[in-house]
């Protein structure tokens, strides 16, 4: 290479742009591509179940309302996180989340293991009017959830779509979806989803897997 080669690159914007893109992409190709391709090898535990209809509806409300903008569902492997929120999150816990609800933006607390931490009533009142319970809260209120009904046919259609993506729903699951959400509001669905986080609907880490993985959140003092 001589100076004229550099001069050529420098003076031709497309060449410069493409070569820059190649160099910048190397990091992503090394760090991201292998885990993308190998994602299918994440093994779920035997008792892993996809979201039941009501929680599935709740999950979609969670995504629609943008809860992820302020709440992560990813407890990092750092002492001050595991002490506060419980065992760090594992990949298989998000196997049925499309899209996953990880993230590092925490205006509010992490919710990966919030299920059961508060009562159903607490979640309900808190979603309707956060400041009725936590005066310092800056979370918005979501009063419309209490009046919006969950559409059973819609939930069944979502389950059929997810089955195409290999979520293990049975015909009986899908046939029973409309009945399972009958008369339920979006608030009921979201509360059911939240109360299952880290408990009911997420696969329990395999006992034979990573050492020391406890199935239930436990704060170590």
């Amino acid at each position: 290479m001589a100076y004229r080669h550099f001069e050529f690159i420098e003076k031709h914007a497309w060449t410069l742009g493409i070569l820059t893109a190649v160099m910048v992409s190397l990091g992503g190709l090394a760090e991201l591509l292998p885990t993308f391709v190998e994602a299918g090898s994440v093994r779920m535990s035997a008792n892993a179940r996809p979201y039941d209809p009501l929680r599935l509806a709740g999950r979609d409300v969670y995504v629609r309302e943008g809860c992820y903008l302020c709440h992560s569902q990813m407890i990092r492997a750092l002492r001050f996180e595991t002490q506060r929120y419980g065992h760090f999150s594992t990949a298989e816990e998000s196997a049925f989340d499309r899209p996953f609800q990880w993230g590092s933006k925490r205006t509010g607390p992490d919710l990966a293991r919030v299920g059961g931490k508060y009562s159903d009533d607490w979640q309900r009142v808190h979603l309707m009017d956060p400041r009725a319970l936590v005066p310092q809260s800056n979370m918005p209120a979501y009063p419309w959830l209490a009046t919006a009904k969950v559409d059973g046919a819609d939930v069944a259609a979502r389950m059929r779509t997810l089955r195409k993506l290999h979520d293990p729903y049975t015909d009986a699951d899908i046939a029973g979806a409309a009945k399972a959400v009958e008369g339920k509001t979006e608030l009921d669905a979201l509360v059911a989803y939240l109360q299952g986080l880290g408990i009911a609907n997420e696969p329990q880490p395999a006992k034979t897997g990573a050492a020391g993985v406890a199935p239930v959140a436990r704060s170590s003092p």
């Binding site: 290479m1 506060r84 760090f88 005066p135 704060s219 170590s220």
Partner: protein
């Protein structure tokens, strides 16, 4: 990581570092033709901007070279070069375990010291109060409020008044936190709205609030036959099942006529979650001490 991906990562690292290192070595040596005016002849804005020709500053060259050494050193010490694990054997799991162990080493002696004490004594311990406050703010304040004053909307009891639904001994408080509590007042709307209103008047009369004496008298027999099963014939409550005392001025869901009618008509199922195993027994012990401390107006003294 399969060895195929390992080689993929290694190849990319070598390519990246190789290309940039080649440029680092070679580019400063490239012969750049310079015009008599000292520029390269590259112009922008119709010649208003011309590209000058200067050598790279020494500090820049040194800093860049240092980065190659740092990068190489990192790849030797830490995992990153494909499957190679690094000479330090670092993993995020080990770092977490070490950080947790270091924290436990500081915290465990304190928890152990407190675990040997009674809840009442823990309440008076300054270190326990600070620990308990952290735990309380993170876990309990959502319902009971930061100051422990409770919440009428949820029926979360005020913890500062030394009035207890399930008993206020150290053991009672520990049990409440450890196992949670569930209120089980059934709805009485089946009795009919007039009866509900009469009962509410009678309940108002129990705590000496203004009430309609005739309606209260009409409600009294219903109370004696029905409500007394849990609240007692005199309405003084029952700590065994967490039935509130109705003769005092402390109200879980509010003591107005409307709130009492709602409580009777729709029932109340206040639920406190169990905190075991979310919190360890030692942490629950400290929390019980803190709650006891709150109930004494925040001025617990050792007994």
């Amino acid at each position: 990581m399969s060895s195929g991906w390992s080689w993929w990562v290694i190849g990319l690292i070598v390519l990246n570092l190789g290309v940039t290192f080649f440029l680092f070595l070679w580019a400063p040596r490239a012969k750049v033709p310079v015009l008599p005016d000292g520029t390269t002849g590259h112009v922008w804005a119709h010649g208003a901007l011309r590209e000058g020709m200067h050598r790279l500053p020494g500090w820049w060259i040194v800093a860049s070279l240092a980065l190659y050494f740092i990068g190489a050193g990192y790849l030797v010490l830490y995992p990153g070069f494909g499957k190679y694990k690094g000479t330090l054997g670092w993993t995020s799991g080990k770092e977490l375990a070490a950080a947790t162990a270091a924290n436990d080493a500081k915290l465990d002696p304190v928890l152990k010291r407190l675990a040997a004490m009674s809840v009442e004594a823990v309440a008076a311990d300054g270190q326990a109060q600070r620990l308990g406050e952290r735990l309380f703010v993170d876990n309990c304040a959502a319902c009971h409020g930061r100051a422990g004053l409770g919440n009428l909307v949820l029926g979360a009891p005020n913890l500062t008044d030394n009035d207890w639904l399930y008993g206020g001994t150290g053991q009672d408080i520990t049990t409440s936190i450890h196992d949670g509590r569930s209120g089980v007042m059934p709805p009485w709307n089946a009795l009919g709205e007039p009866t509900v209103k009469n009962l509410a008047q009678y309940v108002l009369s129990l705590s000496g609030q203004p009430h309609d004496a005739a309606a209260a008298a009409a409600g009294e027999p219903i109370f004696k036959s029905t409500c007394s099963a849990c609240h007692g014939p005199e309405g003084k409550g029952n700590a065994q099942i967490g039935a509130p005392n109705l003769t005092d001025t402390i109200w879980l869901y509010g003591g107005t006529q409307a709130a009492i009618e709602t409580s009777i008509r729709d029932g109340r199922q206040g639920h406190m979650p169990a905190w075991s195993p979310r919190l360890s027994d030692d942490e629950i012990h400290v929390l019980a001490g803190y709650v006891h401390h709150l109930s004494l107006g925040g001025n617990a003294t050792a007994r």
